[in-house]
Symmetry: C2
Subunit: 471 residues, 2 copies
């Protein structure tokens, strides 16, 4: 299907139907993405205030066969938010639709518009003494609609699941311009196909999420946080199994950190307080959320004693105050920033079956070493099988010196992930960056089903073309 | 699209390609369903042993435009497993595909074929000291493929979610006959559309699930079970909120029971031991699964004391032994059997937003009372907002005397549910019984998306025609 550019005549149509105030000049931020691998084109930028305005915009785009790029916080890492090829699209930013529409504490439900900043959703839950557990580095600027469109992960997936697991219902504009009023407050509803989960993770290619009904949780009474040295990735996984056995789903965070990450902090962010005098090869950040008067110290000490007996662990630091807890979290949370300052040759957001993680790390390290004198910072959500396996230039060198090797490094890592039955995008999505990977590694039957669904729901191909599926 | 009957010439084709052993004479059980509202037609019955055989059967059906009815344990309550109209279908029963293909305790994953009996899946998890939490009345005969196809619920949804929340991946034969190899062992994988959740709950209309990768959980160290009298449905909901506040996700079961249910047990199943000398108007069955050495008695007593202080509860029975626990569970689990023996005029598997339950029960009772001298047994998974709201003839009368009122009772209850923003099928699915309800109450934009998806994936309309969507 040939698309038409969102030109001045299209802008006039929008103004005529929705008034002047809905359009804004296109500024640079709508055409960039954090890693600067893609840049968007000049386009029409619309800032609707209601779902009806979103629907009107989509109907106009459908009538004129103009591409639509839904825009949230712009923090996505795979280029899903910028259309770098084809006729210029209309960018529909949800930034004016930020209302918390309703909170139902007794139902543990919150209904929010898609443009709300994630941190504001967390705060609204906290106000009624509930937890909205989605938490990730970009939470101060990413928007909940984007979190849902990309099925965002983060540091609490182990206990609470991904974004899709936290959503009960959606309001969305389908590519036809029809509005799906699906803001369910039901925990159980078995009436027909799961359109909600189809839109979640579709990265704006099957419609625009305009509001969501989200699950809240009781806030744990007590939180316990520790950084524990582990002897190996195997030991980390055994420690997690032990923690699950002792504590069930009280384990909310379990993050693996490699010495390289600690060294990058020393190198790039020396103000970050290091937990150990000597940087260990591997350590984990563990956090427990406890109820019923359970003491975090007791729980963590009991776990540590059992883990020591099983020869899994070395030294440990248990947070004794909120300030110490923040220090431990800063280690984990500032590693991505240190990574950016060092500058990676190639970054990989991958997952493999949890029991295969040790073998995967070993093989990947051997493979990368054979390709060049790279440094590897491998860290992340080991409890979910999700690692950020990032490859850096040797000390004293710039990433640009290795531009010619980027593709071979990436391809080698991704091929290995695929051989391990893993995913080349565990939590960031496909966007435009990994559309070719999806073609390469995707199951053929699933790929043809995906294409059939895309054509069925968006026959003109106007919704975020080029993202997820090559157009 | 016109379909052809699965006749003798079609059976010959199957035998020629797959051998004689794959077909069986069609016996009555494949043409019935538990409530006997629908009866199937004479058809070809195929019992494949492998996913490749399932795929070959679907390809033949596609080539000859013959309808396919996937068949699990036959326990579904909405007629999804019997095709009562149109040309006779080929029934594909998964009963020979029952293997536990693999168990990965360190990953908390089990991979099983679709024909495995749910109780056998539970037992396989228990063998490695893990919990597979899906639990429901039919667990001794229903099959996991059917549980997934209908997104089964049951008594542990509150803590662990519905069937869809317990599944990481699927192997399935799509209507084209292509096999989707999607038995993922990944907790996080954001590469493309969520085909898994689309097939789960589609009741065999978008493909045949042949195997699944399932989530296991740590087994709670201690279990605490109690039956507590509550002053009203409001009090039940307040008690649940209190339990969540004190105990977080340790609350695994929270079932509301009305006096009518206890009276039906006395009437129809007098061997069931009653928990209270005087039958209370409302009581709840609560179960806790605890870790980290927490004592169930302490937890339940602390909850009870707080609930008593808040004037929510009356007497309570806390199970002191496994035998007492079984007695308390028998109350809840044998109510459906008592219901069948009494014989309902109309049964409703509904959900409404949790905070609206008290008002819904009040209004529904008034409405039913205005329709006739009925008895109402309202019970179920109140923590999920899911009630079984079942209407019975007055004592001494037969359901058949009220046949003429069945439709008006059902319609009135469903209209009320819809007015409350609820679902007319919380956990049983749509099948053929509620396909008209879906037309009546379904969101129009969602309905057109569902039809477009059905046509895209099954253009010939061979997969379980007439279920979910009217053909």
């Amino acid at each position: 299907m040939t698309l038409n550019p969102a030109d001045e005549s299209f802008a006039r149509l929008i103004r005529a139907e929705l008034g002047d105030d809905i359009l804004r000049p296109v500024t640079e931020r709508y055409l960039e993405e954090p890693r600067r691998r893609f840049s968007g084109q000049a386009a029409v930028l619309a800032l609707p205030r209601t779902v009806d305005e979103v629907a009107a915009l989509v109907r106009l785009a459908s009538r004129k066969q103009v591409a639509v790029v839904p825009y949230g916080g712009g923090t996505g890492l795979v280029g899903g938010q910028v259309m770098s090829e084809g006729p210029a699209p209309v960018v529909i930013s949800l930034e004016r639709m930020t209302a918390i529409r309703a909170v139902y504490p007794s139902e543990n439900i919150l209904i929010v518009e898609a443009g709300a900043i994630l941190a504001d959703v967390q705060a609204a839950a906290e106000q009624v003494n509930r937890l909205f557990p989605l938490a990730l580095a970009a939470q101060g600027s990413c928007r909940i609609g984007g979190n849902l469109a990309t099925n965002a992960g983060g540091v609490n997936v182990l206990r609470y699941g991904n974004a899709r697991d936290l959503c009960l219902g959606l309001e969305a504009v389908l590519p036809s311009g029809e509005i799906w009023h699906g803001l369910s407050r039901l925990r159980k509803d078995n009436t027909g196909y799961d359109l909600r989960n189809l839109l979640i993770g579709a990265e704006g290619t099957l419609g625009i999420i305009t509001a969501a009904s989200l699950k809240l949780f009781p806030r744990p009474e007590n939180v316990g946080t520790a950084m524990i040295q582990v002897r190996s990735p195997e030991a980390a996984i055994a420690l997690l199994a032990l923690a699950h056995e002792q504590l069930g789903d009280a384990v909310s965070t379990f993050e693996l950190i490699h010495r390289q990450g600690l060294q990058f902090l020393t190198e790039a962010l020396p103000d970050v307080r290091q937990p150990f005098a000597t940087q260990p090869e591997w350590c984990v950040l563990i956090e427990l959320g406890l109820f019923a008067g359970q003491a975090p110290m007791d729980a963590l000490e009991k776990l540590y004693v059992a883990a020591e007996k099983a020869e899994l662990v070395g030294d440990a630091v248990i947070a004794q105050s909120e300030a110490q807890r923040a220090d431990l979290w800063a280690i984990r949370e500032r590693i991505p920033e240190a990574n950016r300052l060092i500058g990676s040759v190639s970054s990989h957001d991958i997952s493999v079956p949890i029991s295969l993680i040790p073998k995967f790390i070993e093989r990947a390290n051997e493979m990368v070493a054979a390709l060049g004198p790279f440094r590897v910072n491998c860290f992340g959500h080991v409890g979910d099988g999700n690692l950020h396996y990032n490859v850096f230039p040797p000390k004293g060198h710039e990433r640009s010196e290795f531009d010619s090797q980027r593709q071979v490094v990436k391809r080698s890592v991704h091929d290995l992930v695929n051989a391990f039955g893993g995913s080349v995008s565990a939590e960031h999505g496909v966007g435009r960056l990994k559309a070719d990977d999806l073609e390469r590694y995707g199951d053929p039957a699933r790929m043809s089903a995906m294409r059939a669904i895309k054509t069925a729901l968006d026959p003109l191909g106007i919704m975020n073309p080029g993202a997820v599926l090559r157009s």
